[in-house]
Subunit: 339 residues, 2 copies
C-alpha cells in the first residue's frame, strides 16, 4: 500500500454493517481506486449506490479479490473462519467485523483511539471489536490511563440494528401490530421486541453469561492489555432502531477527580461530552444516530466511593460500533504505509 | 378496624395507579363495605367500573372522608403534603403513594415482604415506596438477610406508565408517527420516547443524580434499615408501556453461594424465579405485565468476585411497584387489627 490508489473489497455489502462500510470508505481519507462489492450469500445481484453511481453486488468468489489491497469482511463468523486466512494468503489485508478471530492471540483487536499501536504487529488480519465493547473502551480508556480501572459494571441498551436488517423489520412490524391492537408475530429475535426488551444477546454459556457479555469482558481485556480488569455486563436488546446506550459504573485503583475526568474526556479523540443536566443535555440514541463519535453524559461521583464514577455512553452501533471503526483501522493502515 | 366491614377511599382514582388500587382492593382480602372514589383535580365526573357496577369519581373534599377507615392517596407530592396529615387527624389511616413522606422518620416506608414490622409504629400515615425501589428490595432482601449486601449497582429500564397516562399516549403517538415516516411530536417527557430512551426520571440534583436515583438509594436504606448500603442507580425511561426491568449487580459482605441464593429466592414471598437460560426463560416486561410478583432471572456469579452476584429483575410497575404494594399494606393492617 504505497502511494497508488487502492483496490478495496467489501464482502457482505448488502448487510447493514457492510452498507455502512461502503459509505464510510467513500467519506474516508482512503485513496480508493476500485471498490468491489460482494455478498456472502443469496443477496447478490443487488445494486449498491456509491455516490457517483450504482454498482452491482456480486456473489463472493475468492479469485475475484486478486489485486485487492484491503478486504473488509462484514459477514458471519463461519464465513470469516472459512475465508479470512485464504484472503490474507493472497497478500490482501483483511479487516474482519465478525467475532471469529477477535480473541486469537495472533490477531490484533483494534480501536484506533485506544490501541493503534497493536496494528504494528498484524499479519494480514485485523479484527474489529464488538459494538458494545468499542463504545465502552473509547469512553473508558482516557480514564483508565490516568486512574487504572479495576472493575466495570455495565448494563447495555442495544438497538435492533445490531441484530441485522431482519430484526429492524421485526421491531417495526411488531410495534405496528401492537399499536393496532393486534398480537405481535414472533420472528428471528428470541422474544418480542415491540414495546418490550430482553437480556439476551447471542447464546448463553453454562455459567449464565451471554456471548455478548463475554465479548465485553474478553475484548476489553485484550484491547486495554489488562487481564486483571473485571467487566460485569448485562447485555439487553431494547426497542430502538439505531444507537446503543450503556450505563457504566467504574471502580479505579485510585481516587478519581470529576473535573479532571471531564477534561480528559473532552480532549479524548472520538469522544464527545454531552453532559449538562441543567440544560437536559445527555446523549440518547436518536440524537447520536448517524454520528461517528462516542457520546458521554451523566458523569457523576458516588458518595462514599472516592475511586468510582458512573457515566452514560451512547454511540451509533453501525458506525463507531462497526463500520466506522473498521474504516478507521484501514485509514490508519494507509497512513502508516505512507510514512 | 375491628371486624366490621371497612369504608375505604381512593383519591386519584382516575389515574393509572389509582385505577389499579381500586382493582386490587376489589381482589384483596380486605372486607370492603364502602368504596369512595375521588379525583384530586379536573378529572372528576368520570365513571369507574367496579366489577358490580359503575361508580362516579367525585372531586375530593376532606369532609366527604368522614367515617372512612383507610384512605389511599394516589396523587402528586403537593396534594399529599397538603392533605395527608389533615386526613389522619380525622382518625383515618392514610397509605400514600407519593414520595412526600417516604423519608419522614415518623412515617414507616413498607414493603410487606421485606419490613412488615415497620407497620407496628405507624401514626396513621404509611408511605408506599418508589416503584423501582420496591422490586429491587423484594429481590434483594432474601439475599441481604443471609449475606448482607454492601453495594448495589443497578440500571433500570422503566416503562412509560410510571410517568402516568399522558406518557403512555405519548409513546403510542410518537411510535406511530415514526412508523409512518413522520417526525415525533414532543410531549410531556423530557426527550423523545418513541423508539428512543433517556436516563432522566425526575429532576437532577447538583451532583448529577436524578430524583428517581436518589429515591432508590435513600428508600432502600430506610426499608432495609441499613445506612451503610451503597446503591448506585442509573434510572432510564424506555419505550415499553408496562413493566420495569432492572439489571442489578450486588456485592455482599460474605461469599455468596448461587444454589443457596436460588433456593432463598424461590422460597421468598412475592418472588418468582424465572431462570433457565437453556429454555430461554428469563422475565421480560410483556411477560410480567398484569402480574403481581417480582420476577427474577439471569442469576449469575462473577468470576473473580466470590462476594458478588448479577441478576435481572422485572415487575409490573403499576401493581407490585405501586397499587398492589399499597393494597398489601392495607391487608396487613386489617390482619393485624383482627388479631
Amino acid at each position: 500500500m504505497g502511494s497508488r490508489r487502492l483496490r478495496i473489497a467489501v464482502v457482505g455489502a448488502t448487510g447493514l454493517v457492510g452498507g455502512e462500510i461502503v459509505s464510510q470508505i467513500l467519506r474516508s481519507r482512503i485513496d480508493v481506486g476500485d471498490l468491489l462489492l460482494f455478498s456472502s450469500d443469496r443477496s447478490s445481484g443487488h445494486l449498491a449506490w456509491l455516490g457517483k453511481g450504482h454498482q452491482e453486488v456480486r456473489p463472493f468468489r475468492l479469485e475475484d479479490l486478486c489485486g485487492c489491497d484491503i478486504c473488509f469482511l462484514a459477514v458471519g463468523d463461519d464465513f470469516s473462519k472459512e475465508y479470512a486466512h485464504r484472503i490474507t494468503s493472497l497478500g490482501i489485508t483483511v479487516i474482519d467485523n465478525s467475532s471469529a478471530f477477535r480473541m486469537d492471540p495472533n490477531v490484533p483487536l483494534v480501536v484506533p483511539e485506544v490501541n493503534p499501536e497493536d496494528l504494528a504487529w498484524h499479519r494480514g488480519l485485523i479484527a474489529n471489536p464488538n459494538c458494545s465493547t468499542i463504545q465502552m473502551v473509547v469512553a473508558l480508556a482516557p480514564l483508565h490511563r490516568r486512574w487504572k480501572a479495576r472493575k466495570v459494571v455495565v448494563a447495555t441498551y442495544q438497538a435492533v440494528s445490531g441484530a441485522g436488517g431482519q430484526a429492524v423489520g421485526e421491531l417495526a412490524e411488531q410495534a405496528q401490530a401492537i399499536l393496532e391492537g393486534r398480537k405481535a408475530a414472533s420472528g428471528s429475535l428470541p422474544k418480542q421486541i415491540g414495546f418490550n426488551l430482553f437480556p439476551h444477546i447471542g447464546d448463553f454459556d453454562s455459567e449464565g453469561w451471554s456471548t455478548e457479555e463475554s465479548k465485553m469482558l474478553n475484548e476489553t481485556r485484550k484491547i486495554l492489555k489488562d487481564n486483571e480488569i473485571v467487566v460485569v455486563p448485562t447485555a439487553v436488546r431494547v426497542p430502538v432502531f439505531r444507537g446503543h446506550s450503556e450505563a457504566i459504573y467504574v471502580e479505579f485503583e485510585k481516587p478519581i477527580d470529576l473535573g479532571t475526568a471531564r477534561e480528559d474526556l473532552s480532549r479524548a479523540k472520538g469522544v464527545k461530552l454531552m453532559d449538562d443536566q441543567r440544560q437536559t443535555i445527555y446523549p440518547t440514541p436518536v440524537e447520536c444516530a448517524n454520528k461517528g463519535d462516542v457520546f458521554v453524559g451523566r458523569l457523576r461521583k458516588i458518595p462514599g466511593c472516592p475511586n468510582a464514577i458512573s457515566m452514560w455512553v451512547v454511540a451509533d452501533n453501525l458506525l463507531k460500533g462497526a463500520a466506522l471503526n473498521a474504516v478507521e483501522i484501514a485509514e490508519l493502515l494507509c497512513a502508516d504505509a505512507r510514512k
